[in-house]
Symmetry: C2
Subunit: 381 residues, 2 copies
């Protein structure tokens, strides 16, 4: 069915329960999207993602544009068929990776020129091209190209970025409007609010984008180095500027506790590489906190990664085995750790959805912190 | 139930259908054991192995002795629990890896002294220690330490190796006999026939070992560099020297066609790193031959790795996607390729078992070669 967002419940504490519908199925919100950078959530199969409870994944336009190329993905029937993932996919605009990975970037009103980090070839990404590349990749939700400010960011620079992000959002809509049906299913475009830490600029950015009537909105320019308090202050002021009947996406956030705080401030969608990237380095998230399973302390530990977790990894394998796999450089280590941490994130969100639906989110949040902070799973802390 | 081998059928062409029973379940033979070098079949989970049809896996004593150490595995309840694999496990003696991986080896009548390839520490492996390490690891089937000759091998050297292998086999039996119950299940010891390419030495080695009444026998010293014709000539002459009512294991062999030829000569058990090692490098085995999926030729190929395969990978993913994963250095590439190739080997064996049971192995073998040789899956061949 065509893209729709239904707000099912609002918790007194500010959290929202909702549902996004797409032609590739529904996503209950708040939801976490595992990051499938190069059309694969590193180490996991599509069947793993399904089994772990993922309902929407994120893929990176920058990476897929460079390799294998959006035209090839289009030719092969789009990203769902390419990565054997039948559920919704969201793509970013590519702008963030251009700024963080590519060299020789030049940002102008037209767009961004950059040098590929793979082979040094020159490319340009304009708002129009960011949309058309995402249409070829075939995501259900595409993001407009924005200018994401870093931190700290002077007011003049933040103001310029808001103006440019607004112009770029309008140019993006000129490509195909906020919704377009192609290849047998609907694609929608989300706008991105900028404005750094300046409340009036956030207001200005939000107002301009809301007048464009995007099917959904992201809050960008956060979690770029600023103190956590600042992140959540800006978030608390920005989220209410967005229409209640549209989904709100906090890009690139974050740790489990950041997601809890984002949900508390009315955010519906999250993505982050932390669970997958940390897992590949032998650090997993558990109900008791972060656990660095590659530590020698776990060499003889027969317990599962998280004794309160019922994922396929925790049901079968000990910390001692995981530690051995990492110690021996075995690929199964990153794979099992990734599966657990993705499962942990997805179930954290599903626990929150249940709590919101039952009007006890504030209580759930207190209980989460009691377990998560008090009993850090690392014995050496 | 205690270890037992039942010969269910003998094909006129020489192939045998049988069943090995162990306290960790039964294994229909001829069977292929995926190699789980460091207590993991690289990239695969225990659930994958089960799903792909594996019934027994091999683990390497040399690797596990060095890391994480057999005492740690024993402390954690043995290898089945450690790697979450509830079915039978066979371990090699460690001798082969000492000779191929370790430095500063000194072989004497007592055993082998060697320097760890991991940290340079000095160790010694005697026939007695090889058994006790395997008892600690907890395999269902342990192999005696043997002296494996390389190729070419002079007659005097081969004769010396047979004598030493015989003495070592007897010393191995002095540790715990050919069968021992420990940790709640039975462990058995297999002897290994040596003798290089010399028919009378093979006879002498087999006769000496058969008089020890091992529960099973391996044929060693083959596939060490000699021409294929020689391998199968020696095999054809050696297999009949072993008692028909005991399982016969051809160590470290081989390519799909080598296994077909081994089965034709009455072999019941096989192991080899080829399907898993090649897969990690982007080369898989298919019903039409070897396919190097990392080749650019597959960049736009929508077909599965093997259109005649019904494994989970072939049902979901295209060659183009696999090629992208390898090209992008994604771990999912080696993982999916490994799953397919292990599945291919396991189903090749199950096809052979069915053919033998129906008395049409010769016919099956002809059909296999028609497909396997005639239609190499590589378009660039």
């Amino acid at each position: 069915m065509p893209f729709a967002f239904t707000l099912l419940a609002s918790d007194p504490a500010g959290a929202r329960l909702g549902r996004i519908e797409t032609d590739h199925g529904a996503v209950e919100t708040p939801a976490f999207m595992p990051v499938g950078t190069q059309a694969t959530v590193k180490t996991l199969s599509a069947a793993d993602l399904e089994e772990a409870g993922a309902r929407m994944v994120l893929a990176n336009t920058y990476h897929l544009y460079l390799r294998p190329g959006e035209k090839l993905i289009d030719e092969l029937g789009g990203i769902h068929r390419f990565m054997a993932w039948p559920r919704p996919v969201l793509t970013d605009s590519g702008g963030y990776q251009v700024l963080s990975l590519a060299e020789l970037r030049r940002v102008s009103d037209d767009g961004v020129e950059f040098k590929s980090h793979l082979d040094g070839s020159m490319h340009s990404l304009t708002p129009e091209k960011a949309v058309s590349v995402q249409l070829d990749i075939g995501s259900d939700i595409a993001m407009v190209l924005d200018e994401c400010t870093s931190w700290p960011c002077g007011r003049a620079e933040a103001e310029r970025a808001v103006a440019r992000t607004t112009r770029w959002a309008r140019r993006s809509l000129d490509v195909c409007g906020p919704r377009v049906r192609r290849g047998g299913y609907e694609r929608v475009l989300f706008g991105i609010v900028q404005g750094s830490v300046y409340p009036d600029l956030r207001e200005r950015s939000a107002a301009a984008l809301v007048s464009c009537d995007f099917p959904g909105y992201a809050i960008g320019g956060l979690s770029v180095g600023e103190p956590k308090r600042e992140t959540f202050d800006v978030l608390a002021r920005t989220a209410p500027l967005l229409p209640a009947e549209k989904p709100r996406y906090l890009m690139g956030v974050g740790l489990p506790e950041d997601i809890v705080e984002g949900v508390a401030r009315g955010i519906d969608l999250f993505d982050c590489v932390l669970p997958t990237r940390n897992a590949r380095n032998g650090a997993v998230f558990t109900s008791a906190g972060k656990l660095v399973v590659r530590n020698a302390a776990y060499a003889r530990d027969e317990r599962p990664l998280d004794p309160r977790c019922d994922c396929a990894v925790c049901r079968a394998y000990s910390r001692a085995y995981l530690r051995h796999l990492f110690n021996a450089g075995e690929m199964l280590g990153p794979r099992l750790a990734t599966y657990h941490s993705v499962y942990f994130y997805l179930h954290l969100l599903s626990d929150m959805r249940q709590a919101i639906g039952e009007g006890r989110f504030a209580e759930w949040r207190r209980a989460f912190y009691e377990s998560y902070r008090a009993n850090d799973a690392q014995p050496d802390r």
